[in-house]
């Protein structure tokens, strides 16, 4: 149904260039529900908005049912009638009642009579649970109700696919589920959809396929199970496990330990790790860097914290090591004993690479 090849999007502002989409390739078939996930700023929304040309792509091809929609002669407005879009900020027409919001486009574009359009609108309002809000103005509705009305507005055009651009991001947490229920129902009824969302559990359960986007490309794609249970590539793993990272590169022994302590403090504080953990981490860093590592070359220190299983790992990479660092240190070495006492495991995965799990 939709085929995307080498899609790119570059924003130019004066001499500054910002590449949002580098090279996106994918196929979306009829009846599929595509969940699009990934870190912020990796082009998920831009990709979606390129599909109905709310953003003009910089390069590549998008074909819908074999028709190139980037062609000059393509009728964008006709194309958009078949593609509904649900926005983060609802974008209901402020000056019209909910009923008029829904009937405006069918009457203007599909030539439906008022009665016909209104009858259909009431059916749709029934479907999204807003039957009694037909005469209300958007301003009188809650966020969740607005988003459901916006979905009804989309459905009134009988679209072949609906694009959801973070449909629950602007909502109060208490209203998220009422919107998700409606989307889930559409999925059950076989509607083709592409959903950009940060609601991982929802995306996982509703999608038939997941696109994981990172740095302007579809970095990994697969079934929900593949992506969420067995992610293959490092960025996907980090994202799925919600791993937060802090990295230091130390050229030699003359580094700024207290500056590092400050940054580690901010990091631990941000993810709620507590003072006890912070003290332990600082001790481990001090012993490792001053007593254990030989500093025969630059050292890289990485802190990884997984918000999924709440584990913190420190990885020390000593470059310029031909053989194992730990094997050269006697077992009764006091600094090493201290470190072992403070962490749950300490091992050298390969020569010069020491992994400390707290």
């Amino acid at each position: 149904m939709i085929s995307v090849k080498h899609l790119s999007k570059v924003y130019r502002n004066g001499d500054k260039e910002l590449t949002v989409l580098r090279d996106v390739n994918c196929e979306i078939g009829k009846g599929e529900v595509i969940g699009i996930i990934g870190p912020s700023g990796t082009g998920k929304s831009t990709f979606l908005r390129c599909l109905n040309r709310l953003e003009e792509p910089s390069g590549g091809r998008i074909e819908i049912d074999g028709v190139d929609i980037l062609d000059r002669k393509a009728d964008v407005n006709l194309l958009r009638r078949k593609m509904g879009m649900v926005f983060q900020n609802f974008n209901l027409f402020h000056h019209l009642t909910i009923l008029d919001n829904i009937t405006l486009c069918p009457r203007t574009l599909l030539g439906k009579s008022r009665e016909e359009a209104e009858a259909r609108a009431m059916e749709l309002l029934q479907l999204v649970g807003l039957y009694d809000k037909a005469e209300s103005l958007p301003a009188e509705l809650s966020g969740g109700q607005k988003q459901r009305a916006a979905i009804a507005r989309c459905l009134a055009m009988d679209p072949e696919i609906i694009l959801f651009d973070e449909p629950t991001s602007a909502l109060d947490p208490t209203m998220v589920s009422e919107v998700l229920v409606v989307i889930r129902r559409l999925a059950r009824e076989g509607m083709t959809m592409a959903i950009v969302s940060h609601e991982m559990q929802f995306v996982r359960s509703v999608s038939t396929r997941i696109f994981f986007m990172n740095e302007g490309v579809i970095y990994e794609e697969g079934t929900p199970e593949q992506i969420f249970e067995h992610p293959q590539r490092p960025a996907t793993v980090a994202f799925i496990n919600r791993i937060r990272t802090l990295e230091f590169k130390l050229a030699d022994k003359h580094f700024d330990l207290y500056g590092m302590f400050g940054q580690v403090g901010v990091f631990c504080n941000k993810y709620g790790l507590g003072n006890e953990m912070l003290t332990k981490v600082q001790h481990v860093m001090e012993e490792m860097l001053f007593e254990i590592l030989p500093f025969c070359g630059p050292v890289t220190l990485t802190l990884d914290y997984s918000e999924k299983d709440f584990t913190l790992r420190l990885q020390f990479v000593q470059e310029g090591c031909a053989e194992s660092v730990l094997e050269q240190i006697p077992n009764d070495n006091i600094p090493l004993k201290l470190v072992r006492g403070m962490c749950s495991s300490l091992r050298e995965t390969e020569a010069g690479k020491i992994l400390v799990e707290m």
Partner: protein, 490 residues
Amino acid sequence: MSGYRIILLLSLLLSACTGRQAVPDAMPTCLEELAGHTVAVAGGSSTDLLLSQYEGIDLMRINIGDMPVAVKSGRAEFAMMQEIQYDANQLDAQGFRKCFNGILKGLSAVAFRKDDVGICDEFNSFLREMRASGEYDRWYGNWIHQLDSMVVETEKLPAPTEGRKITVGITLVFPYIFIRNDSLSGMEIDLFNRFCRSKGYCPEYSIVQFPALIPSLNANKIDVILSHIMVTPERARQVLFSDEYMEGSQCCFGLNPEWEKSARAGIWTRTRESTRQNLVEEDRWKLLSGGLAVTLELSLLSLLLAIVLGVLLCYLRMRPKAAASGVTRIFVDVVRGIPVLVILMIMFYVIFAKVHLSGVTVAVFSFGLFYGACFSEVFRTGMLSVDRGQWEAGAAMGLSKMQVFRLIAFPQALKRIVPVFKGDVVSLIKNTSIVGYVAVLDLTSAGDIIRTRTLDAFFPLILVSIIYIILSRLSGGLLDTLDRKLNATK
């Protein structure tokens, strides 16, 4: 004409009401003795030039018609006007007295453009024939001694409606030229009508401010100046004077210290008397209703033009193309930076100087231009207030740009536009009051004409003010209704 002038006059008459009357201890007997006093003169007139040469005289430049009010209120202690005007207005009977006279004895003539020698010769030969036949003496004597019968006679013999067209610039000063029963009368009108009849011309009279007469003539707005204009060497360098047809001199007058105020009539009687004098007598209400019609016509046409221009400028300003948008921005800034009165003058005397357009047309262009520039910014602010998401949502549904504009963006912008727009519309209506400067007889000018004739400042000004207030309220009310209707659908 302009707002500032109305304020000046209102303050004049307020002080007249409070009765501040400065009766000088002794009446001056010559120009030298005017030193240390405030003297009202017609701005730009030869009296103005003469008195400017005397040190210590505090000059107050106003319209001749406003002089009695100025003196009565104490704003000016003395005033200078033509003796013939003083006599014809019967100012002696109203508590004034001539202090001295015979100043600036001079001769008045008709003025033509320098190159219009032919018509000037025709006028001179007409004057010679008139003097030879004795008709001239009858004309002069009858106008001085039997004014009312002459008015009737002039009415019976109106200006010819056929013949070569000639536009005549006039200023209204009794008894030379004035309006009675909604038509022009006066000794100069009578004289010129006789000339036109004898030489086959069809005159079209146009009321022009005195200082604007010579510029108007040289800008081809008028063909003749008929305004008891004194022949001076300075003026003769700019215009072609005919032979003189009238002699005149200026007198200085002040309040008569021996005048006893008659017992003041009750307020009701006074109002009734004012109404009769300012509206009923000589059908003066027709002047006002005619002026009101002109003001309405001007406001409505200007408003329409301004809206069209405003939409166009707003559209150009919002183009993504930097050139179109930049040029429009500069244009709008320039136009909005010039006072509307100055725009009107530039249009009248510079841009359309060589094109024969009526004052109303030029005024409509000027107001349309100025308010079009203002409206374009109002419209733009309104359009910018429409959230980008609304455009996107409309576009995503498959509506074309025009459809989104018509069905979504415009109705939303309108709600923000109307309240600001209302203020501008009311300001437009009120600002049309400056068109007197380009010889358009609108509501304010009509009030001015009545005032200079009846020498009553209070009634015409207050009446004109009330009419403006009603107009503003009506137009404001109309837009309020629209605003409420729009807000009913939020």
